[in-house]
Symmetry: C2
Subunit: 150 residues, 2 copies
DNA sequence: GTAAGTACGTACAGAAAGGTAAGTATGAAA
DNA sequence: TTTCATACTTACCTTTCTGTACGTACTTAC
């Protein structure tokens, strides 16, 4: 007999919860923003590319990450910097020189994201194999023939 | 035109490698599609919500995941199903009844994504604290109530 | 003297993601 | 009888995302 127990409609008390620990299932939780930045199209790849002992320069990252535009790389780096995951050090020299690296927090984040990426890369054969059997999907959804499940 | 030498050569980057193992840094690699589905706005939350021993029904998921629309939930589930991460079982009954669950592959995926989510949720205080100091930024949000945790 | 590299900022536009509302078939509750 | 719930689909529209192109200020290479 728990109709509403799946999700309480509202709780004024969850507010304090939000500050102690995020709740991604809650619509208004700020953790969703962090998730958005980290799992944005380029966020994952930037974090991974920044792993390692050396700092990276902007155009170096651009070459590492296949397909990023300058605009998107800059924006992604700014997001991650604002979230405290990325360090940016700019040298005031004539041809601009900027070095990016991960903060301690960013290194933790990068590890998680790396684990995910590694899993995808190694599991890809299984998944791709499945795609081969089942016809198209992905970004484009054509008016596919509706599977008559009923 | 490949200049991959910036990265520490962990593995030879041959053509056959791409079929045996994805390479997310490569623009054309199909693993990017999987990443897109899993890290889509709702993909992460769906995978997490499906963790556990029980199956979930559509509207149950909808209630669990704050803010999803029916349209987006349906689409996300279809993506993940097509990738072989989610099982869908439809019963041919009068009020529709469909049960969703994770495939073995999906359970692995959910673990990775869960690790990431857990990290975000526990790290949120650090990050939010940083937002408060830095002038308001893109994507960053003001605290709904100015309750300052000291 | 001209092109290229650096690390972006900005304006514009097309693509994609996402939301809203409505419809479907049917049984059960009010 | 009207309404509600289920599990979607579809059309339509808005918001967000992302790419292209260009500008910058200056140095080095050709």
């Amino acid at each position: 007999m728990k109709k509403d127990s799946i999700l309480p409609p509202k709780q004024p008390d969850t507010l304090s919860d939000k500050f102690q620990r995020g709740d991604l299932m809650a619509e208004a939780c700020p953790s969703r923003t962090v998730l958005k930045h980290m799992t944005s199209r380029w966020g994952v790849l930037v974090l991974i590319a920044l792993q390692g002992p050396t700092t990276r320069r902007f155009s170096e990252l651009r070459r590492l990450i296949g397909g990023v535009s300058e605009r998107m790389l800059a924006q992604t780096l700014q997001w991650l910097e604002a979230d405290g995951l990325v360090n940016r050090v700019a040298f005031d020299v004539v041809p601009p020189h900027v070095e990016y690296s991960l903060t301690p927090l960013g290194q933790q984040a990068a590890e998680k994201v790396r684990d995910l990426a590694d899993w995808i890369e190694t599991s890809l054969p299984h998944i791709a194999q499945r795609w081969a059997k089942q016809p198209n999907q992905e970004g484009a959804q054509e008016p596919a023939v509706s599977a008559d499940l009923r």
